[in-house]
């Protein structure tokens, strides 16, 4: 029986717990081979150890289901917000939408410790496109939605907004509106982990645009020299703001840059959560074992334009056509639609159904619940109190408030 035939057979017995290990292991190994065969852009470029293991084979059904759940929770958080931005003229929130890239955040964060005391969980440094990273790390979507609309009870009290959300309780150090400094700061956290003998890992998410910054080099060079427990997840969605990454990087695969620092650099299919997980798990194990940093380049794509929802329609996934902010360059609609054929939600769902972990009906239930959660989160946010003006003088220092200076 070929591997693909094996998969066909297993599809007939969905949700069948009999395929747990060890037979499950053998089965999933087969699937791993099949997955690699159908993957369009996956390859690995490890400097040593040859290749990534298919670690998703070791995950119990509930963990695999949770990965699908998290992917659709991110997707519906985003879709609900897009619709709100388009249909509610009173809505003040904005977003740099992450939809299309969900598998990267979920694949990476599934390989991390996200619950527990602060000095034991792994830390994630995010970007100006933070929704996916935040939800995957464990941030509460209600509080996030309230923060996106600048409410007093939002995740950060209305001080941060989308580009600055952060939640220490799950190790989400936070979003960052700047391109560059994040990864360097993350290596500082990794340095602290090593200095205090902790097994924690610092993960930085960054886009293809970060390659051009001097900080990219500073982060990887120092992390390599000091063998820091640091992972740079570079989400290559082809565009930094409105410019194609060929404007800022002379290589097709940015992961090739890892060779310069003598660290592993791996290219992974960012639309397939399990391939991302495999790469992240390998990198995390290396980091925890004191073997130093890894650069993971996830090839992915965003379904919306750089900022906000221009070109999007309520109830529809994706944004197409002209973005007035792009001025002289914008993405061809056919490119967007081509990438949407390899949707991370579909790939995850199909794989889990194929593995017998989920039925289609169960997957639909999970997705419906995710949609409901998102709608409720934004409705809850709508009912939250606005900030008090004078609270703007708080949180400048740990203690006290600063003086008002805007009055005579």
């Amino acid at each position: 029986m070929s591997e693909l035939e094996q998969n066909e057979v297993s599809r007939q017995t969905p949700e069948d717990d009999r395929i747990a290990s060890p037979s499950r292991r053998t089965f999933l190994k087969g699937v791993a081979g099949a997955g690699a065969a159908v993957s369009l852009i996956s390859k690995n470029a490890w400097a040593k150890n040859g290749e990534i293991g298919f670690w998703a084979k070791d995950l119990p059904n509930d963990r695999l289901t949770e990965m699908f759940n998290t992917i659709v929770r991110i997707r519906w958080y985003e879709r609900t917000m897009v619709d709100k931005m388009i249909t509610d003229p009173k809505y003040r929130g904005y977003n740099h939408f992450y939809a299309g890239q969900e598998a990267v955040a979920v694949g990476v964060c599934s390989a991390l410790n996200n619950k527990g005391p602060f000095d034991q969980i792994d830390l994630v440094y995010s970007t100006h496109r933070p929704s996916g990273h935040a939800i995957a790390k464990g941030v509460d979507t209600k509080k996030m939605a309230a923060e996106y609309d600048f409410r007093a009870t939002g995740l950060n009290g209305g001080y941060g907004g989308e580009m600055h959300i952060s939640d220490k309780s799950c190790g989400f150090i936070g979003a960052d509106g700047m391109i560059g400094p994040g990864p360097v700061i993350a290596t500082g956290s990794a340095f602290a982990f090593r200095a205090r003998g902790s097994k924690q890992v610092a993960v930085n998410f960054g886009g293809d645009g970060t390659y051009a910054t001097p900080h990219f080099h500073a982060a990887l060079n120092n992390a390599a020299l000091l063998q820091l427990p640091f992972i740079y997840v570079l989400e290559n969605n082809l565009y930094h703001q409105y410019a194609h990454y060929s404007y800022s990087c002379p290589m097709k695969d940015i992961a090739d840059a890892a060779r310069t620092y003598r660290i592993p650099g791996v290219v992974v299919d960012g639309q397939d959560v399990f391939q991302v997980y495999n790469a992240a798990k390998t990198a995390v194990d290396r980091a925890r074992a004191g073997e130093g940093p890894t650069l993971i380049e996830a090839k992915t794509y965003r379904y919306y334009n750089h900022w906000g929802a221009p070109g999007a329609e309520a109830g529809e996934l994706g944004a197409f056509g002209y973005d007035p902010l792009a001025i002289s360059s914008f993405r061809p609609e056919r490119e967007v639609r081509a990438w949407m054929q390899r949707d991370p939600v579909d790939i995850c769902r199909n794989t889990l159904v194929n593995w017998g972990v989920l039925t289609r009906a169960r997957a639909d239930e999970i997705e419906a619940a995710a949609k409901k959660e998102a709608i409720e989160a934004f409705a809850w946010a709508d009912r939250q109190p606005f900030c008090k003006p004078e609270d703007g003088l708080k949180h400048v220092f740990v203690e006290g408030v600063v003086a008002a200076r805007q009055f005579g």
Partner: protein
């Protein structure tokens, strides 16, 4: 003369200089040098001058500023447009290189270059990193670099022409909140001096000094106060370094009351320098400065808009000072 936006007026000045000087370069990231205005041809520097002279780089403001400096040292005129996200990433090279090289080379280094730095400050919602305004203070502190902040399309064009022709490095601040301003701007090239404040209204009761992104509110307040019978002398600084001490002192000698308005943080805001210079030269005057509190701008509009000096604040402060 035709109605033009701030950016159209600026790019018109740049286009003129680039046509005249075939070596002049323009470096940008993310913000294409493109502007249009009804009834006039679209300006697109990248298209007109090609990618050898006009280039869209990666997100690396340090390189952008350094490239322009290097081009200047090699004898070419050069301008870089750095969007507001990165307007301090290039600080070191402007402060420690551009600002000092003329002195360190004993007067040999020539740097006919312009750092066009965008700043927000007017925008609630973006929070902290994308809403700040304090770089006027930072850059104005640097010796060896002229720092200007025009507040009208007409000044924007004239000061860009003057900045490009100036043999010194110029930090040219662009408050992005002024993007929507439209006014009649001459079509021909002209220079607006880089060392002169502009007296916007004359009066004998009080001097109000503002600059850049704060000017629309200052002018609104001026109008309101004039309607109430106050004779207001309103001054737009335009240049933070060199600062036009003479115009400031002359005005306060007459009014004996000085109110400064800044969107920058209170501590060391440009108004603090204005007050210090006037206090050194005018006896018996009364002073007040209003500014953004010494706090990072919060995202929530309720907090941000309450903290940002506006026309109401200015009117109240002026009345207190005069009354």
């Amino acid at each position: 003369m035709a109605r033009k936006s701030w950016m159209y007026a600026v790019l018109e000045a740049v286009q003129y200089e680039m046509r005249k000087d075939k070596d002049m370069i323009w470096i940008f990231e993310l913000t294409p040098p493109v502007a249009s205005t009804p009834g006039l041809p679209v300006i697109n520097l990248e298209k007109e001058f090609g990618r050898k002279r006009v280039v869209n780089t990666g997100i690396d403001e340090n390189w952008m500023a350094s490239c322009v400096l290097g081009a200047g040292l090699a004898g070419s005129k050069a301008v870089t447009y750095i969007p507001y996200q990165g307007n301090c990433m290039c600080f070191q090279v402007i402060q420690n290189h551009a600002g000092k090289l003329r002195s360190m080379t004993g007067g040999m280094a020539s740097m006919p270059i312009v750092f066009l730095l965008e700043m927000t400050g007017q925008t609630p919602g973006f929070a902290g990193q994308h809403s700040d305004y304090e770089i006027d203070t930072y850059y104005a502190h640097i010796p060896g670099v002229k720092t200007v902040v025009p507040s009208t399309p007409t000044d924007a064009k004239g000061m860009m022409a003057a900045a490009i022709r100036d043999p010194n490095p110029v930090v040219y601040l662009y408050p992005a909140g002024l993007r929507e301003l439209m006014e009649d701007v001459p079509n021909e090239q002209y220079e607006t001096p880089l060392d002169k404040a502009a007296v916007r209204t004359t009066g004998s009761d009080i001097t109000i000094v503002g600059s850049g992104g704060g000017m629309p509110e200052v002018l609104k307040a001026t109008e309101a106060l004039q309607k109430q019978g106050m004779k207001v002398e309103t001054i737009d600084l335009r240049s933070l370094k060199p600062m036009d001490t003479e115009t400031l002192v002359k005005s306060v000698q007459k009014t004996k009351r000085l109110l400064t308005v800044d969107q920058s943080y209170y501590t060391l805001c440009p108004g603090a320098e204005v007050i210090a210079r006037v206090a050194e030269n005018v006896r018996g005057a009364r002073f007040k400065r209003i500014a953004f509190p010494d706090a990072p701008p919060p995202a929530a509009p309720e907090m941000m808009l309450w903290m940002r000096p506006n026309a109401d604040h200015i009117v109240a402060a002026a009345k207190k000072l005069v009354g």
